[in-house]
């Protein structure tokens, strides 16, 4: 059987998490290639809809990565993001999905190691959960999509 390789979207704020990801790269600290980053100026910009849409389009897991608590460059965008992630967790729970498919992670710009470690941990969590419920029942989605 083919090993399940989850698709994971990480919304990363420009100031901390995105920089930390670059830092992980420049230090050549490996993390799973499953994680793909979408850059936002601040995690406060990440709308619950964006997270939901990521799932809709086929993500197996989504996380929002922002600055450390209290370190947001826009005061409290990361705290807002945390609540929005919780909102999505509730919706997922209502739909009978595992809440762990969405998470909020905090790190500073210098924490390349943390970026890599959390990316790995999140990927492992999603691997344990298995494919998104969408994929199990609806494989057509991938057939419609471009073969990479």
């Amino acid at each position: 059987m083919k090993i399940f390789e989850p698709e994971i979207v990480a919304f990363c704020c420009h100031y901390c998490a995105y920089t930390a990801a670059d830092m992980a790269g420049s230090k050549r600290i490996s993390y799973p290639a499953n994680v793909k980053i979408i850059r936002v100026p601040c995690t406060g910009k990440v709308d619950a809809i964006h997270i939901m849409k990521a799932f809709e389009k086929g993500a197996d897991g989504v996380y929002v990565a922002g600055c450390l608590q209290g370190d947001c460059h826009f005061k409290n965008g990361n705290t807002r993001a945390k609540y929005r992630v919780e909102q999505v967790q509730i919706i997922l729970g209502d739909l009978g999905w595992e809440k762990q498919r969405v998470a909020m992670i905090n790190m500073s710009a210098g924490m390349g190691e943390r970026f890599a470690r959390t990316a790995l941990e999140f990927t492992q969590t999603i691997k344990q959960l298995g494919p998104s419920p969408i994929k199990i029942t609806h494989t057509d989605i991938n057939q419609q999509a471009i073969r990479f």
Binding site: I49, M52, E56, I91, L95, P133, I134
Partner: protein
């Protein structure tokens, strides 16, 4: 403003699961302001519905439309072009909006996606409180601008019951005793005397006791 809250997803799903094509209609008035049924909530609910259907291997067409004001028939017309291509309508407006849509498109099932809660005001970001029950006979002029009908748990019209404690209502420690507020306000206005007048039993016809209420402005209704 009218406030509302989204219904539990399961209830919404029960309503719409028989259908393959749905219009999800938001409203850009009250329910937008109270973050229950504006464009954003429409998008979020649509996404949640998609996720649910996809999980069951179904692709359901969900058309997202947010009307300027669902409770006006003219705005409801905006759905005309879509109505033939839909099996059901899910409305995120208050009960008034849902009924306007249902009346206009009586050939299609119309379901509410929110529970209309109360007429309230925003206390601070994200918090709304009931302030009016639409009793049709406003008492605010004699109660210092604080409504005992809406804000006293027992709708008492002649002063606080014995359950008030430190200015709070007996039903919950975070609910103000309306009568304590009224009293403080009357004192501040030097209108203590007003309290001693007995407020007679209310005529509830104005509050809907006389059947669905109606306002007619002859000058406008020509």
């Amino acid at each position: 403003m009218i406030t509302a809250e989204q219904k539990p997803l399961n209830e919404i799903l029960d309503y719409i699961s028989p259908y393959d094509r749905i219009i999800l209609v938001g409203c850009n008035e009250c329910v937008t302001v109270c973050a229950a049924g504006g464009r954003k909530e429409v998008g979020l609910l649509a996404s949640a519905l998609h996720l649910n259907f996809l999980k069951h291997g179904r692709t359901v067409e969900i058309k997202e439309i947010t009307l300027e004001r669902q409770c006006d028939p003219e705005y409801a017309e905006e759905l005309v072009s879509e109505i033939d291509r839909t099996d059901a309508i899910l409305s995120m407006a208050c009960g008034c909006g849902v009924q306007t849509i249902a009346a206009r498109y009586n050939e299609k099932p119309v379901f509410p996606a929110v529970n209309t809660k109360f007429m309230g005001a925003s206390v601070s970001q994200g918090i709304w409180e009931e302030k009016c029950q639409g009793c049709g006979d406003c008492l605010l002029g004699i109660t210092g601008g604080i409504c005992p009908v809406a804000r006293c748990s027992k709708h008492l019209l002649n002063g606080p019951c014995g359950g008030t404690s430190k200015g709070m209502c007996e039903i919950a420690p975070d609910v103000d005793c309306a009568w304590c507020l009224i009293w403080e306000r009357l004192k501040a206005l030097g209108m203590e005397k007003r309290y001693e007048e007995i407020m007679e039993a209310k005529d509830f016809r104005a509050a809907g006791g006389g059947g669905p209420r109606r306002i007619i402005r002859k000058d406008l209704s020509l």
